[in-house]
Symmetry: C2
Subunit: 263 residues, 2 copies
């Protein structure tokens, strides 16, 4: 049996859109009583075309929102690959970072979905803000049919199984005043702001186990929004004086928050 | 006179591709002896269409590879806007991070250029690696005609004036063995590797003033490349166990290195 470092092969062929599959993710419903799954979609194509899977190959698998494991290839008859799946006793920990984000432009949001899941986010809460264009809400990019596969793509890249929970709130104020405590019961609340004097590391102190990170729209939150957020426990933090695009800032901030929580 | 927070307006119109112009960058050759510049390209269009500049308006400007300053609008006659420019006595400091990067896919590289300049990079050195496809070198995306405007776009976003120096090396080994010390005389050399035990913060100690960060191709450096880099002073660092896409990793790592250097 060989445990193939999935994705290694992919890089060499370089045919597809940079989607490295470092883990094959299965949904619980795909497993029969004996722990067997018959795949016939892109995952099967990846197993056949990229990993050259044959009966006896073993590949890394993960159960969506469950544990990691190994899949023994029991048969390959294109386009179907059958795996016998065994899983570790426990699932990997849920990512300790949540995101509260003003809806960005659809094109930006589309690019962010897989990157957010890859960086590791427990919950993604998208909201309105004065500087968000209304039509950003009426887009395909905010439908589960669009974002779910993109999130799973990110999980397969990063070898995680935790699908971020996504909710979309068209009204900022009721979200902050009425729903926030239910959605994010615990954890430090941080608000990225270029003029803040506290660093992320400074704000994530010893006992902090979870962080809810708020990221504004291009152009920033307005005064009303800032005040409301601060009144609901958000502490402003900065990662330096440079003004970054929302997507760049979001990725860099998630990296910094994860790093600060790892100490 | 009003100092307009450039870019603020842009966000509301939201018409263009997320290119926030927070600073109008001028080239030295555009200034006449009296410090006046007549703009007639996208910058003039931005001044007229987005900032609604009129004679008497003052806007943030920067001299490419030079100081920041202010531009007093002296005339507006579309498509030309004339600015009288004054500059601060000194230029902002050069970003303390350099990048040694295996050439990524052209589409990824194209997206990275403005983000690298916005995050702040002194020098970008692109090189070959076993897992880089040969044809990545023969692309428009690696020509100054393509990357220079994208880098300036990033500077205008982040309000910096330091155009990253770019060099492209088709041969990895001569670069590392013969040219590296000339290109990067000082600074800590870090190599991002998922299995390293040292964090970036741990590797950037007190006296470190500059960092050269090496980022491999999708799929990573091979053994030969890793050994050669380590033999030339690169220390492996990790930002956690998740395997990220090269562009995601690059942005998150630059954020972490900048943060570690700011302490």
């Amino acid at each position: 049996l060989s445990l193939r470092p999935t994705g290694r092969r992919r890089k060499k062929t370089g045919k597809k859109e940079g989607k490295a599959v470092n883990l094959i993710i299965l949904d619980g419903g795909e497993l029969d009583g004996a722990g067997e799954a018959a795949l016939r979609d892109g995952r099967a194509a990846h197993l056949i075309g990229v990993l050259h899977a044959a009966p006896g190959s073993v590949v890394r698998i993960g159960l969506l929102d469950g544990p990691l494991g190994r899949g023994l290839v029991t048969s390959v008859s294109p386009p179907v690959v059958t795996l016998r799946c065994t899983f570790e006793p426990t699932a990997p920990p849920r990512p300790p970072v949540d995101l509260l984000m003003a809806v960005p432009r659809p094109k930006v949001m589309r690019r962010l979905w897989p990157q957010l899941a890859a960086l590791g986010v427990g919950r993604i809460t998208l909201t309105n803000a004065a500087r968000v264009e209304r039509n950003y809400f009426d887009t395909h990019v905010l439908t589960p049919g669009c974002y779910r596969p993109l999130l799973i793509e990110g999980l397969q890249q990063a070898r995680d199984t935790h699908l971020p929970a996504v909710t979309i709130h068209r009204q900022f104020r009721p979200l902050i005043e009425d729903h926030l405590n239910g959605l994010f019961a615990d954890g430090a609340r941080l608000l990225a702001h270029p003029h803040a004097s506290t660093t992320i590391r400074g704000a994530v102190d010893g006992p902090t186990r979870r962080v809810l990170l708020a990221i504004g729209p291009e152009g920033g939150w307005n005064e009303f929004e800032l005040t409301l957020l601060e009144r609901h426990g958000f502490r402003t933090v900065s990662m330096g004086p440079r003004t970054l695009r929302v997507d760049t800032a979001c990725i860099a901030l998630l990296g910094l928050v994860h790093d600060a929580l790892r100490r």
